[in-house]
Amino acid sequence: MSFQEKKSLVYMVSTLMLSAIYAYYSFVIYPDRSLSLDTDFKFYGLTILLLVPAMILINIINHIIFYIINKIQTGQEEMDVADELDKSINFRADRNAYATFMVCFLLSMVPLLLEWPVYLMFNILVLGVMAASLVWSSSNIYFYRKGLV
């Protein structure tokens, strides 16, 4: 497995970790949320604002651990510079992730239309972010393996 594939795998692991943290936070710590709109909006506003720094932090920690393990295993320091192949692959991965998020965004409008609880909309949105992130990393791995011909 190449360095870039391993890096995408680390990103995927970070996303899965964050999804687990979100599920724990949302469904275990605060399972009995009030159904009032005000409380739900406040809860999800705070949750989404906390998810962003948490994602950055988890990614940084995981990448530091990965670089250390990779250095010990291979004995060489990899240059983390994106060349034209990396950029082309990232471009395709971005496109796939964007499409995934858009599908989830449109799906998140269904609970609003059907007047279902607002937490369903937010959960679908958060799920959309996580799914897009997973699609991004798996697309990267797929294109590094398959190539771009």
Partner: protein
């Protein structure tokens, strides 16, 4: 319409250039070793600029490094 294929003989040229490694070639043209591996395996068609850089690294005209194979049919 079927796509053609870009063929390369980088591997042969590396061998003829004092067995230059993929890493050395990658450093000479400013890309990662992974990219050279992908080009050699035919998994990636380089940009025109990179193709010229690779040809220059071997001091060869570009047509001696890369060739285009038309799709059949």
């Amino acid at each position: 319409m079927k796509k053609g294929k870009i063929k390369t003989n980088i591997r042969t040229l590396r061998f003829m250039n004092s067995e230059m490694t993929q890493q050395q070639l990658a450093e000479a043209v400013g890309v990662s070793r992974q990219t050279i591996v992908a080009i050699e395996k035919g998994k990636y068609s380089p940009s025109l600029e990179l193709a010229f850089k690779i040809a220059l690294a071997f001091n060869k005209p570009i047509e001696e490094v890369f060739s285009y194979e038309k799709a059949e049919g």
